[in-house]
């Protein structure tokens, strides 16, 4: 039994362990401040909020594993929210398409990202930034001059805020399903192995006969779709979609992936780590806001803590 536990810990990444240790430390610090930090109700609520970030971080992780990055998350998320609420205003049978339509729009933008990065070979950092600007431009154009329909459908609200089974938030189920699928895809399918292979060395992956460009295209499409589905859920959560709703999610998504031990240069990382990173970031944000630190202090501590945690366990090996 003891050996089994030790074996389990040995197999786990050190970074993942460190991330979970940080979560426990944060909860302890929080409980010193208020005992409600350890109550099941609070924890469930945090997991519900974490689900939104969890979806985004899943897509981000796929892309980061490839050695790329997706900086278009903020406005692709907003597109997801605003397009799904736009579809909610269609005539009777068609408004059922609100959720799929929002996600579809995100996937379309992600697909464009994938074309740019995989086939046109533009560095993902600049291409996704440009796509972010294009998505923003499209949304500004849509709202410019008149106020479009921006209210979420009942289905979106139930999905984001409801608790249908065992008092567990529905949003958590969504993240759970997405997470389970991602773990399966990353560890049990050729697509998943290809993602890791490309992240390590795309040339080698290509020479091994992998369709590297198609894999990159698929990963970016998935990332766009996941960011947009987070937008759909967030629109349901706050009952409406609005401009710039995705802006606060870029840094947390990248930070969650990296704090979870995924190598930002690609090729290494586990989904368990990303889960830990997402919970860690959500708890950190929650504790900073419960302690009623003003926005300035929150930003400062938030950035500093991320740097500090990375310095503790996220350092690169010495290359030379």
């Amino acid at each position: 039994m003891g050996a089994a536990i030790i074996g389990f810990f040995n197999r786990m990444d050190r970074a993942v362990l460190a991330a979970f240790a940080c979560i426990i430390a944060l909860l302890l610090v929080g409980s010193l401040y208020s005992s409600s930090f350890l109550s099941p109700e609070y924890l469930l609520q945090q997991l519900q909020v974490a689900s939104f970030l969890g979806l985004i971080a899943t897509g981000m992780m796929l892309v980061v594993l490839l050695g790329q990055i997706d900086l278009s998350v903020p406005w692709v998320l907003t597109v997801g929210g605003m397009m799904s609420t736009a579809a909610a205003g269609w005539d009777a049978p068609w408004n059922l398409l609100a959720i799929p339509f929002g996600i579809f729009c995100g996937m379309a933008l992600g697909f464009a990202n994938g074309i740019g990065v995989a086939y046109l070979r533009v560095p993902s950092m600049i291409f996704t930034l440009g796509m972010n600007a294009v998505a923003q431009g499209l949304m500004v154009l849509r709202t410019g001059g008149f106020a479009p329909q921006d209210h979420a459908t009942e289905a979106m609200r139930v999905l984001a805020t409801g608790r249908l089974v065992l008092n567990i938030p529905n949003a958590l189920f969504v993240w759970g399903i997405v997470g389970a699928v991602t773990i399966f895809v990353l560890t049990r399918t050729t697509f998943g192995r290809a993602v890791y292979a490309i992240g390590n060395r795309e040339r080698a992956a290509y020479l091994s006969g992998l369709a590297t460009q198609r894999t990159v295209l698929l990963a970016f499409t998935a990332s766009g779709g996941l960011a947009a589905s987070a937008g759909v859920l967030l629109a349901g959560y706050s009952t409406k979609a609005y401009q710039a709703m995705g802006d606060p999610y870029l840094l947390p998504a990248v930070a969650a992936v990296v704090l979870g031990g995924t190598n930002i240069l690609g090729g290494r990382g586990s989904y368990l780590g990303t889960i830990a990173g997402v919970i860690l970031i959500t708890l950190l944000q929650s504790i900073l806001s419960v302690m009623q630190i003003n926005e300035a202090g929150r930003q400062l501590i938030y950035g500093a803590v991320i740097i500090l945690m990375l310095l503790i366990y996220g350092r690169q090996r010495k290359q030379i």
Partner: protein, 326 residues
């Protein structure tokens, strides 16, 4: 003749950026109701110089194969700080300006130390330090406001006799005092070498750590120069995440338009400056053609994507598919 061809190959990106800018600016002034007048040029120059300084800051780091996603926030922080301390008498203003520039240097040095000695990736580091810098800006200026030394501000954003915009002269001065010595110095060459190939630079005995640190420090310095100029133009400070984000995005776009390779080791700050000017002119073109202002973000995004995609034309010349994966 041979020398010229080498020189041309090395500076093709810069020359292309200059050409694009000249064409755009000609279209702009040609269609502007006030035409090619001193006031039009001064306004354009004031706006262009801000982005040019931030783009220069970005160039420094990009040359070493890094990326600085905090330049926009250093720019905002310098703006907030300058609107607080660069006021009052001439002496107080001078001290204030020194304080602002020193803060910019400190921000750049912080980035550099974390990236080089902390061995974290630049993209993650600067994303996080950007949050820190923005936090400090918010703490300095929770609401937009502040003041500036009006005499100095008017002098630096106005015109010299003959209608030459002073801000352009300031930019030229910074290029001559910062960029040219850097480019010609040993550490400047080292920064290019690091960007081309870090292992090769190390093997050749190049001081890679010092070169990279200098690049980050200069980046912070230049970004804070931009923040100072913003204060002189707006007469106030504002801690706005949107401004910081926009300038970071546009600095990267300007760098790419200016022919600086995001993989490091090639390009020049001069190219980035003209890239910045071209980008700004694109934004202004919409106004002279009387388009609705809400077309502007989309237009800029599409232009940016088109510009970076132009680089993909090189793919047509690739003979071996393996070269795709560089």
């Amino acid at each position: 003749m041979r020398d010229f061809r080498y020189w041309f190959a090395e500076n093709r990106g810069t020359l292309l950026a200059i050409l694009v800018f000249v064409v755009m600016f000609a279209i702009y002034t040609g269609n502007h109701s006030a035409g090619f007048s001193a006031n039009v040029i001064t306004t354009a120059s004031n706006k262009g110089v801000l982005l040019a300084l931030v783009a220069m800051a970005q160039t420094m780091v990009v040359l070493t194969a890094g990326i600085d996603l905090s330049v926009g926030m250093i720019f905002v922080l310098a703006n907030c700080l300058a609107s607080t301390i660069a006021v009052g008498t001439a002496f107080e203003t001078t001290l204030g300006i020194i304080g602002v520039l020193a803060t910019g240097i400190a921000c750049g040095a912080l980035n550099g130390v974390i990236v080089i000695y902390g061995r974290l990736q630049p993209i993650v580091t600067t994303l996080a330090t950007g949050a820190v810098f923005f936090g400090i800006s918010l703490w300095l200026r929770s609401v937009p406001g502040g003041d500036t030394n009006a005499d100095l501000a008017d002098a630096l954003t106005g015109q010299l006799p003959g209608g030459i915009p002073t801000s352009l002269v300031v930019l030229l001065g910074i290029v001559l005092l910062v960029w040219v010595p850097f480019r010609r110095s040993m550490l400047g060459r080292a920064a290019y070498a690091v960007g081309s190939s870090e292992p090769a630079a190390y093997m050749s005995g190049v001081p890679i750590e010092r070169a990279r640190l200098l690049a980050y420090v200069l980046s912070g310095f230049l970004a804070s120069c931009g923040g100072l100029m913003l204060t002189f133009i707006t007469y106030s400070g504002e801690a706005s995440a949107a401004i910081g984000g926009t300038y970071t995005l546009n600095s990267i776009a300007a760098v790419v338009l200016g022919g600086v390779s995001l993989f490091g080791g090639s390009g020049s700050a001069i190219g980035a400056i003209f890239g910045a000017f071209a980008l700004r002119t694109i934004g202004d073109l919409l106004f002279v053609f009387d388009m609705e202002p809400f077309w502007q973000p989309l237009f800029q995004g599409v232009i940016l994507l088109a510009a970076v995609t132009l680089g993909s034309l090189r793919l047509l010349r690739i003979k071996n598919r393996l070269d795709l994966f560089g």
